[in-house]
Symmetry: C2
Subunit: 325 residues, 2 copies
């Protein structure tokens, strides 16, 4: 499926975008962050949402689509400080390349610039769009805080984990699509179905990410396989394994969790993956991904828009489900 017709205006507008000049320490990191690339899924969803209802999708929704992408990159920038991540898409993170203070402050300005891009909405829809954006932004922060809390909490339930990834990842995909739909002229009901389609796809997307960390191809995935296992990250895979493990498996998992020397990292990944295999964690996770995917499609079915335009969204969702990286 060729989405370049929608992707090109996004890429071009991002390349041409001016965030500010002086001081350089404030604006260079923004240009750097925005030029790192990425799949631009969120702005694509916004444009495809508008295209469902209008041929003027570019005029109606391009700047708001960029707002969502700038906001997303703001969250990555601040999350990378909090997670002390050295790399993002293979390049040094802003807090490493510059310093944490520069990363905090240039992130703050990115959030402001995201709002500014959103002001390019017709008056009748402006306030609602801004309110929904703000609500979503706060939820994304709530998700990040929960993610950090879970690192040090001994027990996390699967329901809590799913709620965390809903907030941290899925609600923004839902909002991106809902926003575009409203700008294109969707009814409130259609916009809500599309939002829920986006949230379901977002949940499936994050679970796919958890899965790729363990079962992805290192070369294609672009990260070290088993990184989540090495860092004891409480993913859907680990939480499901802990729930389903028998006594012996629980002891083995308990032995490896918290064992964080680099010499034992490979053995740890092998041992934990072996337990995942015994407990059929992969097919179980794939089943849940598929559940969310089917729920998403059910919402899309109810949307009152031309089938051939809805097919683009279905195609993008399928791409995200089948991606190897």
């Amino acid at each position: 499926m060729d989405l370049s017709r929608f992707l090109s205006p996004i890429t071009e507008a991002l390349a041409a975008r001016h965030y500010g000049d002086q001081p350089l320490e404030l604006y260079e990191p923004i240009r750097y962050s925005m030029s790192m690339g990425g799949k631009r899924i969120r702005p694509l969803l916004t444009l495809l949402g508008a295209y469902l209802y209008s041929d003027h999708w570019q005029q109606l929704a391009l700047n708001p689509a960029l707002a969502v992408e700038v906001f997303h990159n703001f969250t990555l920038l601040h999350d990378d400080i909090m997670d002390q991540a050295p790399l993002r898409r293979g390049q040094p993170t802003v807090h490493v390349k510059w310093n944490p203070n520069v990363a905090i402050l240039s992130g703050d300005v990115m959030l402001v610039r995201a709002y500014e891009l959103l002001f390019d909405i017709e008056p009748a829809l402006l306030r609602e769009a801004l309110q929904r954006f703000s609500q979503t932004a706060a939820e994304v922060c709530e998700g990040q805080q929960l993610d950090m809390n879970f690192e040090t909490r001994p027990q996390v339930s699967i329901a809590e984990y799913l709620d965390m990834i809903r907030l941290k990842t899925a609600v923004l995909l839902g909002f991106a699509l809902e926003l575009g739909a409203r700008l294109g002229g969707a009814s409130a009901e259609d916009a809500d179905h599309l939002r829920r389609f986006g949230v379901d796809i977002g949940l499936a997307f994050q679970l796919r990410d958890d899965l790729l960390d363990v079962y992805g191809d290192a070369a294609t995935f672009g990260k070290r396989v088993g990184g989540d296992i090495v860092s004891d990250k409480k993913t859907y895979l680990l939480l499901t394994a802990l729930e389903r493990a028998n006594e012996a498996q629980r002891v083995t998992l308990g032995h490896w969790l918290g064992l964080n020397s680099s010499e034992t990292a490979e053995a740890k990944v092998r041992a934990v993956t072996a337990i995942y295999d015994q407990l059929q964690i992969r097919p179980r996770t794939e089943a849940l991904i598929n559940d969310y995917f089917q729920d998403a499609l059910a919402h899309l079915d109810l949307v009152q828009a031309p089938a051939e335009r809805k097919a683009l969204l279905r195609g993008l969702a399928l791409q995200l489900m089948e991606r190897e990286s």
Copy 2:
């Protein structure tokens, strides 16, 4: 002058404000920051700006006034991380009481909540208010970045310093007043005079702060006298002294700058203050403060609003000039 009629609704609305519930680590720091107190000068300016033109100042401008105060407290929260400040108004800062990650993220949500308070503006004025707010917010961040840059730069000119405090402190006071005026019904011309009144007062306010650090009464000022001298902060006082010093004074200043042991702190404050006295830095700074104050009043004179209402703004400005803390 009694401003309690305007201050009370601000205090009450801030006390009643709901920022969010869960996770606690995200929302407790916001409540903590907003309950620390402060003079609430910025929201006062917004309400007084609206009152110049309308008896419905509370209905028209209260939530936008709170937006400015929440934004201001967001900048304090993030600045305190960057400056590694242990205390704010005598209480532990958020990054100390919780941790830097909590401070980054709860600050992010405060910025979002500030925007939300600004959505309570009639449609005809909403976009302009949001754009001016965003422009001001970016300028405040630029000022903070310049302030950090100046710490490690060997040379800073007085003009550069004044531009930095204009961005970091003064533009927000100008915006607070301009916003209120527009919401009350001011013409673009009046709103601009009021903005410039606010910027001038903001510059005078910050210079007064520089002065109080050296010449304030420790008990009244609430900070240790000479803190800026001890930390080699490039204030208007120091930069003016460096510019006007003779060879011997320059050598003495050069000797003390960079000498940062706690044992010599008192002697350093005495020695640098002695040079300030020789060079008449205090009356020179007071003269510049007065220049800005007179410029501010000249702008206020040109504003087409009832004299008795303008008198409240003049009175507030005078209070800020004469404050001892």
